[in-house]
């Protein structure tokens, strides 16, 4: 700190602001989270856990995305 006199710090500067082991929220148990795919995409079934088999698009031409 050059010539400035400073006191002793109470906190170590490297007190971690992060916990290792956190991943992207959407990354997870693909078997139990229907609608999430391993390549980072998702489809309409993502947004529901109820009767999810019935929540896919009914036609190929429809955009299969989760309602925002």
């Amino acid at each position: 700190m050059g010539t400035i006199r400073v006191g002793r710090r109470d906190v170590k500067p490297d007190t971690p602001g992060h916990v290792s082991g956190l991943h992207q929220g959407n990354w997870g148990p693909y078997e139990r989270q229907t609608g999430h795919h391993r390549d980072g995409t998702s489809d309409a079934r993502r947004s529901t856990g109820i009767h999810w088999k019935k929540h896919d698009t009914i036609m190929k031409a429809m955009p299969n995305i989760s309602p925002g």
Binding site: T3, V11, P13, G17, H18, H36, G40, S42, D43, N64
Partner: protein, 597 residues
């Protein structure tokens, strides 16, 4: 000397009066401008810019977890903090060797575009235009106001004001129509920002490796709906600005000399192209040129370089009049860059901040701002580059480079064409910003609304690209990474006011050295060891005075217009001052769930 040449001869005997403004209002921070004005020849003969604020980010960043850098450096600034976060993430991505997914890049770009629109609007309409409003012009140049009352506004069919004086009245603070409308607009643009980056102005969803924004269709449609609300305001803002600034040139012949300095402009580039960028230093020249605002250094109207590697290697932090001890006897952190080029001891990677508080003396040391310069390899000179307040250098560099070619923006080599779609009222409009003759006060201010239009046009493109990905079911916005034991990184970005670089050195997975260099140290720098004044000083020194008041009632509006045209922001410009009040708290973070019972 890399400064502007002295002006004309044929002078009356000088009548020098010392005038100073400290602190200057409508500027965050503590900027003081000390001048000597020759009232006989209506000219400023000497100028010093000084800052009385020290903060020490580069001191207390040492030893911290590098992943925190973006969150900490955001607090450098209360208006452009997100630019620091973005730039810090760029530097960290280089150090960690991670590239965010394309969707994350678009989200960051959309957030930054909203920031440019918000910040330039609030600064131009609520802060700069106070110097051009009816009340101010009445107090400083009554004859100009009388002429403005008689002058039809050429673009009145676009913005709805009949005379130039009507526009000036609409600029009046707190009551003028434009002033109030700009506040509403800056609210909408901040909402757009928050959709992408979570919170204004310190983003909560920008991380190295990606973002935490949930890429749902509604996020993008909410952004688009707000963007379409501001698009007509942007078109009108450009027309209003052009009318007023053209009028100033007509009403006050010679006004181009106010704030004119030699053309020494710097732009570090903005908005990464996700298809090209990989954040590796070795390929920085390639992906730098693919940015949607092209980096460049412009000297006397010529492009010197647009290669980010050259730009990086030429950076020098000089101490000539600043309250710091020199660090050249310290151990350098980085002797060679990843390409094997030698790195100077005065480069930010090797800098050690050694503050040394002392008395202010204009013939010795007088500012907490250091003097960043760019070493010109051909001439060996240390150039005192400025950013022209941000937009001027960005548009100038993009236009000269002629590389940007998108559905809404085309750089032609001498101009930038910006096409904005139909808004609520006004039809599709193509605006063209042409490279001006001078780098002066009016042109710095004029470039600002054009860049708001530029940001709006870019936002439309990013929206389309992001929505295409979302429609394909894409949700990936983050890439995992490991913090290496040792690494270096640098990030180049454009803060709202101009060039921004973050230089980072990691040792033992902790920050060994960290130096953010935002635009204001470039613009507000004091005289360096070679005697070269910084851009504010250079622009004000030798400028004519058009104000009609005598020394007793002198307001210095021409000088204030010049300083404010650079969009000064001193908290960025200086590197903790604990005065009589001293608060120390001990905090430990994070502990999950302790407060949740």
């Amino acid at each position: 000397m890399t400064t502007t040449e002295a002006r004309r001869a044929g002078r009356k005997p000088a009548q020098i009066v010392d005038m100073s403004w400290d602190p200057i209002t409508r500027i965050i921070g503590n900027l003081g401008i000390y001048t000597k004005i020759d009232f006989a020849n209506r000219e400023v003969v000497e100028c010093h810019s000084t800052s009385s604020l020290f903060r020490g980010y580069s001191v207390f960043m040492k030893g911290k977890d590098p992943r925190d850098a973006g969150f900490i450096t955001s607090r450098i600034c209360g208006i452009c903090g997100d630019n620091h976060t973005t730039c810090s993430n760029y530097a960290q991505q280089m150090a960690y060797g991670v590239k965010p997914p394309p969707l994350a890049e678009h989200i960051t770009n959309l957030g930054e575009a909203a920031e440019y629109m918000f910040d330039h609007t609030i600064f131009q309409d609520n802060l700069v235009f106070v110097d051009f409003c009816e009340a101010m012009v009445k107090a400083t140049n009554p004859s100009v106001l009388a002429r403005a009352e008689r002058t039809e506004a050429p673009r009145g069919h676009l913005h709805g004001y009949r005379t130039i004086a009507d526009i000036m009245r609409a600029f009046n603070p707190f009551e003028g129509e434009i002033y109030k409308q700009a506040l509403k607009m800056s609210r909408i643009t901040r909402e757009m920002f928050c959709l992408m980056e979570g919170r204004h102005v310190h983003p909560s969803t920008l991380y190295p490796g990606g973002v935490g924004t949930m890429p749902q269709p509604t996020v993008f449609t909410d952004y688009l709906a707000r963007l379409m609300r501001v698009i007509d305001f942007v078109k009108q803002a450009v027309a209003l600005n052009d009318d007023v600034f053209d009028f100033f040139y007509q009403a006050l012949p010679g006004y181009e000399e106010v704030g004119r300095r030699r053309i020494l402009l710097a732009c570090w580039g903005a908005w990464q192209n996700p298809d090209i960028v990989d954040y590796r230093y070795e390929t920085m020249n390639h992906w730098g040129k693919a940015m949607y605002v092209t980096p460049g250094i412009i000297v006397d109207g010529q492009l010197v370089t647009n290669n980010l590697v050259d730009i990086n290697l030429g950076l020098r932090i000089l101490l000539g009049s600043s309250y710091y001890d020199d660090w050249t006897s310290e151990e350098p952190f980085v002797t060679h860059d990843p390409l094997g080029n030698p790195v100077d001891i005065r480069h930010p990677w090797n800098q050690t901040t050694l503050p040394h508080p002392q008395k202010r003396a204009f013939d010795h040391n007088y500012s907490w701002v250091m003097s960043p310069r760019w070493h010109h390899p051909e001439t060996g000179q240390h150039l005192a580059l400025d950013t022209g307040g941000g937009p001027l250098a960005r548009l100038w560099s993009t236009a000269l480079n002629g590389l940007v070619d998108t559905p809404y923006i085309k750089a032609t080599g001498h101009s930038v064409r910006i096409t904005l779609p139909h808004g609520e009222k006004l039809p599709e409009t193509t605006l063209e910003w042409t490279i001006p003759q001078w780098s002066n006060t009016i042109e710095r201010d004029r470039a600002r609304p054009y860049f708001i239009a530029y940001a709006a046009a870019m936002a439309l493109q990013f929206l389309e690209q992001a929505q295409t990905l979302v429609r394909a079911g894409e949700t990936k916005v983050f890439e995992n990474f490991q913090v290496p034991d040792e690494a270096i990184g640098c990030g180049f970005h454009e803060a709202v006011r101009g060039v921004l670089s973050h230089h980072l050195v990691i040792k033992n997975q902790k920050i060994a050295n960290y130096h953010p260099y935002p635009p204001t140290p470039w613009n507000a720098s004091p005289r360096d060891p070679y005697g070269t004044p910084g851009p504010y000083e250079d622009a004000v020194q030798g400028q004519p005075i058009f104000e009609e008041n005598d020394p007793d009632t002198f307001k210095g509006v021409d000088i204030m217009r010049t300083v404010r045209s650079f969009d000064p922001c001193l908290p960025c410009g200086v590197h903790m001052y604990l005065g009589n009040g001293k608060t120390l708290t001990t905090t430990h973070t994070p502990t999950y769930g302790t407060d949740q019972g």
